[in-house]
Homo-oligomer: 153 residues x 2
Amino acid sequence: MQLDSFDIAILVALQHDGSITNAALAEVVNLSASQCSRRRAALEQAGVIEGYSARLSAVKLGFGLRAIIRVNLSSHGQGKESDFARFVASQPQIRSAFSVSGDADYVLDIRARDLEAFADFVHRHLLPHPQVAQVRSEIVLKTLKDDAGVGPL
Amino acid sequence: MQLDSFDIAILVALQHDGSITNAALAEVVNLSASQCSRRRAALEQAGVIEGYSARLSAVKLGFGLRAIIRVNLSSHGQGKESDFARFVASQPQIRSAFSVSGDADYVLDIRARDLEAFADFVHRHLLPHPQVAQVRSEIVLKTLKDDAGVGPL
DNA sequence: CCCAGTTCGCAAGCATCGTGCATTCGCGGG
DNA sequence: CCCGCGAATGCACGATGCTTGCGAACTGGG
């Protein structure tokens, strides 16, 4: 799918405010509301827009702590890694998980209520996992930026 | 604000699909549409729901590469760190940035078109920054999980 | 037992959405 | 230069979904 400048403007507006009305969108991008509606539908159909989400306040919901954890597995390169993937999927505290190249095997983005809950997670769930060999944590002190954005559109 | 199980259910549904209608929401949480509407409004008013965003496909928009970068600053603990914060804000390729405790000072979440664009960013923008002393990168090979979710609700 | 405060579902009025249709714009062939 | 075709656009209208007033139901305290 080929995107023109109107599409880009629509995407930028929508990723900033997903509940904007087509009429308001029309004013921003200088198009009629019906066209905005059609282009939105096309972008959703094409999979450029994967969906919409509510942004929830982590602090107000009692998740004050965030951490980035680098994990090294022991059974390196074995097919059993899907086991770790299942573990990741089963832990709701793991917000994101990436298999990475570098000196770590995985990078996890963790949420927890507080430092105690975080330590509990690491020592009671993560470290005891049979494949986990090493865990190195960085605890988030301050969030400078946390865009939902996808990149420099 | 005190949240009951209905509110939690609404939040879970909304963070999964922010464009769900109140009628559909009503079926999921076993409430009337009007109550869902009222509770949504209250949750937005209280700041529990910060807003809504469209989830865009990074791949379809040409941002195939993602990386986690740990950065160490040279002028450690000085007031001039706001300079680095301004740098972070000015770089659209930096999706998220956290000041962390651990052996690194900052952790960045980076998007780029490809490996070349990523290397260009690191060597032409990040490393030349006067305060940056050390940069260690982990390039994302595979995303196991990438919840917009805020934690185990 | 009664009353006040809160929460609930219903229904009506209203804003928003999305499709049909006629028009315009841009481009390539004659 | 003109014509014709297809894509894109704006308008209008029917349909859908939102929201607020209202009376009923529930709850806790006196």
